[in-house]
Each structure stands twice: as structure tokens, then as C-alpha cells.
Amino acid sequence: MQLDNLYQEVILDHYKNPQNKKLSANYDAQVHHVNPSCGDEIDLNITVKDGVVEAITWDGVGCSISQASVSILTDLLIGKTITDAYKIYDEFVALMQSKGTVEGNEDLLEDAVALAGVSKYPARIKCALLGWMAFKDASVQAQAK
């Protein structure tokens, strides 16, 4: 089934057991992002200390792709330096825009490579990116503090 490329095990796992899906009481920045074409929404809190992403928590409604993507993101980026996190962010965005032409750097992206299949479904790229855009926005705000 072609669809299995999109809905990899890892994605469905994260969807069913989303990580860090509980907004923290404290944070350096909080953002709210929506995907107007489908109504998906996310709130995301971030704490950045000494250039390191200390915590990301979130809540939201959305499809498995958007939920899994942000769940994977938190696993991946918490504990990373902002510099490394942005490298991963850039790599992920590039992967999403690749129209299925690249596999993604697993060393860098780890579980997030499971989302590579999304890049073949243009209408779903925004789903996968929703949490990442929220992270970028929040991290910029947190650093500006």
C-alpha cells in the first residue's frame, strides 16, 4: 500500500502516544499557530537557556501527521543547542519541500525521516510543518527576551 510510505509505524506511534503534549506552566515564549486550510491548531511553549533548548511542550488538535511531527520534534530538539536545532530545522524543511526526491539525513533527523513520505503529498506538507514553524517562531521570541 502506497499509503504506508506516508503513515510509517513511527508516525502512527507518535500520533497515538504524543510526547511532551502538555503545556508547561513556565516558558520563555508561547505561540499559537493555525493551519487555515484545515483548521489544525497548536500551542507551543519553549524554554531556552544558555543557547540550549531546555523544554518544549505543546497542545493542539490536528491530523496524525501534524501531531506526530511536533511530537517527534520535541523528542529531537529538547537538549540541543539552538544552533544544532536550527540545522535540524533547516534539514527538515528542505526534506518536506523535496517532493520525494531525497530520503533525508537520518543522522541529523533521526525519527523525523519517517516523515519523508509527506513530501510527496503537497497538501500535507503544511501539516508536517505546523509544529516546526511554531518552534521556529517561539525560539526566536525566546532568544529575543
Binding site: M1, Q2, L3, C38, G39, D40, E41, S66, Y121, R124
Partner: protein
């Protein structure tokens, strides 16, 4: 002759193609846009191949033919909805038609019937498509008018219990959808139109989801304006219709300004041609108008009552079979009384986007999301729905395939 959806499918070339590696196309997204029969596609092509020239300009043979082509389409369209020829304004879409009304009303000077003052009221409903909501929000904001609305009941019907306090003597405009693109609900207009006229307001009908699917007659409905889009009525993209009573079109100020809508022009001022020209500046979307004429002829030949009955049959079958699916909730009326063939639903915890993707993989095209009626989805208490919408080329088979795939999706994401 019995209605034969399979024979009708043969008129629509897109059904010859395959989806997702060889699967049959089950197109259940006609609420978003309909497919096009060969006669419509050919009408556009033939216009370009044989008659293309700027209509209403130039005295050469091609220009004459182009003019004749669009004017005879105007006649066909006017007959289709029971209006007069010069009451048909061609726009690019119903979105433009509704915005035209909002802008033109907004520019009506004092003394003009359409003039709005602060405190005047505009009435819509919670089941409006954004195209029949935001233009009125904006008009209200520009003029100081107050936007009011009819609520929607949990069953997905307009709540008319307060009709006299929603439509009041302050009301100037009532703009409502004929059929909800989300719920499938068809609104019974009699009481609404009567009350609107009793208070001296104008009644505007968003007929995007009704004109393509059932007989609609503007005189019988006694409404004042009506809008629909060609692309949802087996017609081309890029063409829509605004119908208005001729005396009202005569009074309404123009919207877009440019060539061919004028009577006279100086550097500082201009006066207008009579309607419909007043509302159609520039070289028209001629090939699309011609295609729409063909579309309407095609629908008329099959017969709008027959099309409507076919859709009711499909809807009845769909609702019955879907209701049998565990944790499936139909968002909208469950009976087919005053209800058309748009069936929105949720499926337990499975997000519509995921369900839609799964169905797509099986060759089934549905729409997911808020369907450009975000306040309505919110009101119905769902973040989004999956919508299957039916048209003349759909069959019971299509619905069987939908239900089978919904069950498979439950397993997949379960």
C-alpha cells in the same frame, strides 16, 4: 427514460483516468467543484478555434459571432433560473457576485434604495460559506451597519424561531445560502423572503449549492438577487452568475469600472450603460460564458428534477449505510427532507485529514476541513469534518466503495 448515472459518466472524460496507480476515480467532491462533460470542454475550445474576438467591440464577423455566442448563453442561463435576459450579470464566480453586491450596496449614495446608514441591519446565518459572510462583515464595518445572523440547530437546520427579532424593520439586507455546502441542509425560503419583503429589505440567495443540483426559479422564490458559480454546475472555471431583478440592477451602482460599462467618459467623470453591461467592464470571460451556456443546456436536457431525485436517492443510501458504521457521526440532517447531497461526518478520533488521505489512496476524492464555513464547523462542535458530496455522475457503487474504505480506514488508524 430512467436516470442513468453510468451513461452520464461516459460524458465526463475525467472518469477515463485512473487514480493512485490504477484505481477507479470515485469523485465525491462535487461540492467543491464539479467535473465537466465533453460538450462543455468542446464549447470552450470551439469558441477559441472558430469565433474568438472581443464581444461587443468591433463590427467584424468574428466580433459579431463572439457577441452572439455570449448573448445566447445569457439567454439560456436566464431561462434556466427563470429570470430575464438582461437580469443576468456574468462574473468570474459567485464569490465575485456576492462581493459585487456588497461593494455596490456600500457605494449607494443617500437617496438610493440600497444606501446603508449606521444602525441598519444585515442578516446572514451561521451556515454561510465565507463568501457569503465576510463580504457582509466588511460592509457592516465600512458603513456602521450591524451584522446579525440566524443560528443553526444541533440537527443542522436554520433556527427560525426568532425570525421577527432577527429580521426587523432595521434590516436592509438578508443574505442566505440556499443549501449548506457542509450540512446539505436546504433552507425553506418562503417565510424568510416574506418577512424580508415585509420589512422592505432585499433578499440575496447564495445558490452555489442549489442551482447545480435542483430546479431553482427566481420568480417562484420571489427573491431579489441570486449568485452561483459555473464550475459547480458542470461548467467552466472562471465564470459565475449574478441574477438580480431588473429594477434593482438598474438602481444598484456599478462595481468594477472600465471599458464597455459606460455611457460616456471624460477625464473627470463617467456615466453608466444600463444593466447588465454596467456590471461587466472589460473584455468578458467569453469562452467561459459560452461553456456555461452549454453546461446549463446539458443539465436542462437531463432535467433538474431528475438530477435532484438522483441525488436524494444517493444521499438516502449514503446516510443509511454510514449510520451503520461504528463511531461515525453525520454532521447535518439525517433525513432527506429539504436536504441535498453533501454529507459531512466525523469518524471517532480519526482526523478528517487522515481519513481523506486514506480514501484518496483508494481512489476516492472527498474534502476535509472546515469547507470555508469555519463558524459553522465550530458551532457544530467539531474541528473539521470529512465531506462526501454527490452529483449526477455518482452511483450507489461509489457510496459502497466509500463505506468499505471508511471501515478499512478504521482498521488502519485504529
Amino acid at each position: 427514460m430512467a436516470f442513468d448515472a453510468v451513461a452520464i459518466r461516459a460524458d465526463f472524460p475525467i472518469f477515463d483516468r485512473k487514480i493512485r496507480d490504477g484505481k477507479r476515480l470515485v469523485y465525491l467532491d462535487s461540492g467543491a467543484t464539479s467535473q465537466k462533460p465533453n460538450v462543455v470542454i468542446d464549447a470552450e475550445s470551439n469558441f477559441y478555434r472558430l469565433h474568438n474576438a472581443a464581444a461587443h467591440r468591433g463590427a467584424h464577423q468574428l466580433a459579431e459571432e463572439a457577441t452572439e455566442a455570449i448573448e445566447s448563453a445569457r439567454q439560456v442561463v436566464s431561462e434556466f433560473i427563470g429570470g430575464q435576459e438582461d437580469e443576468i450579470v456574468f462574473t468570474k464566480s459567485s464569490t465575485e457576485a456576492l462581493n459585487l453586491l456588497a461593494y455596490s450596496i456600500g457605494s449607494a449614495p443617500k437617496g438610493n434604495k440600497f444606501h446603508l446608514s449606521a444602525g441598519d441591519e444585515i442578516v446572514v446565518s451561521e451556515m454561510e460559506h465565507h463568501a457569503n459572510l465576510i463580504p457582509w462583515q466588511q460592509l457592516a464595518a465600512r458603513t456602521g451597519a450591524v451584522l446579525k445572523w440566524f443560528e443553526v440547530t444541533p440537527e443542522g437546520r436554520l433556527d427560525l424561531s426568532d425570525i421577527n427579532s432577527v429580521i426587523t424593520t432595521k434590516t436592509k439586507i438578508v443574505a442566505l445560502t440556499h443549501q449548506s455546502n457542509v450540512l446539505g441542509t436546504i433552507n425553506l425560503l418562503d417565510e424568510l423572503v416574506k418577512r424580508t419583503h415585509d420589512v422592505g429589505a432585499v433578499f440575496i440567495l447564495d445558490a452555489c449549492q442549489s442551482v447545480p443540483h435542483m430546479p431553482v426559479n427566481v420568480v417562484e422564490l420571489d427573491i431579489d438577487f441570486l449568485a452561483f458559480s459555473g464550475h459547480k454546475a458542470v461548467g467552466p472555471t472562471g465564470v459565475g452568475v449574478l441574477w438580480g431583478r431588473s429594477n434593482l440592477l438598474a438602481e444598484l451602482p456599478p462595481f468594477l469600472f472600465g471599458g464597455s460599462m459606460i455611457e460616456s467618459v471624460t477625464m473627470t467623470d463617467a456615466t453608466w450603460a444600463p444593466a447588465p453591461r454596467k456590471f461587466e467592464p472589460g473584455v468578458p470571460n467569453m469562452a467561459q460564458i459560452v461553456g456555461l451556456g452549454e453546461a446549463v443546456k446539458y443539465l436542462s436536457k437531463i432535467g433538474m428534477p431528475a438530477i435532484h431525485n438522483h441525488e436524494i436517492e444517493l444521499t438516502k443510501y449514503a446516510i443509511a449505510n454510514m449510520a451503520a458504521i461504528d463511531s461515525l457521526r453525520v454532521v447535518g440532517p439525517l433525513d432527506t427532507n429539504m436536504r441535498g447531497g453533501a454529507v459531512s461526518f466525523t469518524l471517532g478520533e480519526i482526523h478528517p485529514h487522515d481519513l481523506g488521505q486514506f480514501l484518496d489512496d483508494a481512489g476516492i476524492a472527498v474534502r476535509t476541513g472546515h469547507h470555508c464555513a469555519w463558524p459553522l464547523t465550530r458551532k457544530m462542535g467539531v474541528p473539521a469534518t470529512t465531506r462526501a458530496s454527490f452529483y449526477l455522475y455518482n452511483t450507489l457503487d461509489d457510496i459502497d466503495q466509500l463505506c468499505t474504505s471508511i471501515l478499512a480506514a478504521q482498521k488502519y488508524f485504529g
